[in-house]
Amino acid sequence: MAAPARRNLLGVARGWRRFERLWAGSLSSRSLSLAAAPANKGSPWRLLGALCLQRPPVVSKPLTPLQEEMAALLQQIEIEKSLYSDHELRALEESERLERKKADSYDEDDDRDDILLVQDLEDMWEQTFLQFKPGARITEADEKNDRTSLHRKLDRNLILLVREKLGDQDVWMLPQAEWQPGETLRGTAERTLATLSENNMEAKFLGNAPCGHYKFKFPQAMRTESNLGAKVFFFKALLLTGDFSQAGKKGHHVWVSKEELGDYLKPKYLAQVRKFLLDF
């Protein structure tokens, strides 16, 4: 039971093994302007390493109405079943003592001068609590729908998309770079990150294996014997710190969540990318 479930997950993520099974591939009308780059020995496919840079969520998601009700119910049950804490016991003692003082029965016996009564403590805490202001969940960038900013959608994963010129078209895609012999594909992805961010961004790669792939053939005009198409391998990385410098090119990069990917990416590319995005 557990093994097939795991295999399913692996099958989803081990996209890089799937290219053996995928036959007719995906034909898209892309023309690469990198015609001068060397092709692999013996294989007509070019290899590209792409980077899927994710900014992990900063804030947790708000609870659904059902979850809220359940949480409230469990909290109530817990309070009713729990025993009194030290603070509450002290409060009870003091209230009893005050009543006895009012009744004028035991004045001298328990006349302890407490500097701070429980009531005073609670008032002080209330004051400090009112002064505390939690951060906003919906930021300015959300309201303006400024997609280039990283402060948007604090409870979702944001993915970086770049706009590049391929031949005569402007295409939105995940940042990628051509693989050079002598380096690993993950090295290609790291190189992409470095060139993109000019060493401003720090990201953590969780593993050496790619999380997805995309295969496409060049349009008929560009195809040669040794240059049939290209295969792109995606690597996932989590953004730790840093962002694009503001002086950089505007309108060429965007941080989007999973739903907004459809606005930018081509359908077949999008289908492959969505497969490896874990989003809740």
Binding site: P56, L206, A209
Partner: protein
Amino acid sequence: MFSSWVDLRGFRTFALTQLLQRLTLRLFSSGAGHSVLCLRNNTIFKQAFSLLKFKASGENPIYSAGGILLSTSRHYKSKPTHAIGRYQHLIKAEEPKKKRGKVEVRAINLGTDHEYCVLNIHLTAYDMTLAESYAQYVHNLCNDLSIKVEESYAMPTKTMEVMRLLDQGNKMVLDSVLTTHERVVQISGLSATFAEIFLEIIQSNLPEGVTLSVREHTEEDFKGRFKARPELEELLAKLN
């Protein structure tokens, strides 16, 4: 009831004969004197008859020759019923638990599949219920994904007293007492390709207030769980 003796000549199973013998024995014990004799006569006659039938079919007559009372349920080594009730070979033998046993597996390189050695997933939180419930979630997740969970234990609680400086004077007042709870889930056999997805799942499902730390299991981690023994350390210091 006794006509079934004759019907059974085709069956060679001892179990069935046993059953019938037990039934007849019960009849013997429960019946009155007169009926017992009658029954006995009947059985002896029938047995003589069945004895011949058994002999003809090649059945060993020892069971039926001596009568029901003499035949017992012993399984001789030469008989076909030898070791009839054996079951210990079917159960997985439990290895005796060593007190200081530990499993240290180096990272196994299996071609493209690299496997991590024993990993410790540390979950720390101020809220004990939160840490425990998330450790439970991680454990169940590992079970479902068929990742072997070696151990799941708790580290000792650390208590921190937060002192606040009073507005008037230099006196420090006890503000609050914070307890840090840590739960550890120890796993092994995580393949490198899957580790990426697994880590991402755990990270994205972290509740508020819980810190995650995934480390390799080391000797210090193992020894840190034991209590300090001051007498032993004193003696060792005296020796050296």
